[in-house]
């Protein structure tokens, strides 16, 4: 797997996400926000998402030495 293939994979996923959001908005339900709202009804999901979000902040803004 080369850099180009890896980047293509990320780009395809981004395009798929945008497509899914556009299709959901046309349907009137099933947007990313709807899915998040539904998932966050579970206390476990809230806990996992809070942890992931905190980790992301720490990873991006604390852990990296920008020199």
């Amino acid at each position: 797997m080369t850099r180009l293939v890896t980047l293509l994979g990320y780009a395809l996923l981004a395009v798929a996400a945008v497509g899914a959001e556009v299709a959901a908005r046309r349907r009137g339900s099933g947007t990313c926000g709807d899915a998040l709202t539904l998932a966050l009804r579970s206390r476990l999901a809230r806990f996992i998402l809070l942890g992931a979000w905190l980790w992301l902040g720490w990873h991006l803004f604390v852990r990296v030495d920008w020199g």
Partner: protein
């Protein structure tokens, strides 16, 4: 005629209330502008702190906690799920799983230059202080958005 008179009175009331509404709207706008400026200043300061330091950790955690608290105060009333939501959540769950698998595949292979992870790509994008401050603002906004749900 009496109806018309009452309408006239109401119209007068509306005229008298209009400046109050304008003042409220202007006040809200000013408060939002002030909050945006303060957030930008905080973001600029926070991403400039020494990496791996206690101050940087505290700045990130406290900023995030404040955003969560603001979002929780604005929490929207939960609506009942619609028919399309289940299909929607399945689509988003599948996309998240594929993204996770792709990221893991890249992470397990070397060298990193040939197999970039989202983290290594973010490091390239967030090289400047301005980009990091903007990313911090997005992260804070996401916290508020999540807490509102």
């Amino acid at each position: 005629m009496q109806h018309d008179d009452r309408d006239g009175e109401n119209a007068g009331d509306l005229d008298r209330e209009a400046p109050v509404c304008d003042r409220t709207r202007d006040g809200g706008r000013a408060a939002r502008l002030l909050a945006t400026v303060l957030l930008a200043a905080y973001a600029w300061w926070a991403v400039g702190l020494a990496p791996f330091s206690g101050r940087a950790t505290a700045a990130v955690v406290l900023g995030g906690a404040a955003a969560m608290a603001v979002g929780a105060r604005e929490r929207q009333r939960r609506r009942s799920p619609r028919a399309g939501d289940t299909a929607g959540i399945a689509t988003w769950a599948a996309l998240a799983a594929i993204a996770g698998a792709w990221q893991l595949a890249a992470y397990l292979q070397h060298p990193r230059a040939d197999h970039p992870t989202l983290s290594s790509l973010a490091n390239e994008v967030l090289d400047s202080h301005v980009a990091r401050a903007l990313a911090f603002i997005v992260w804070i906004a996401a916290a508020r958005g999540l807490a509102r749900r």
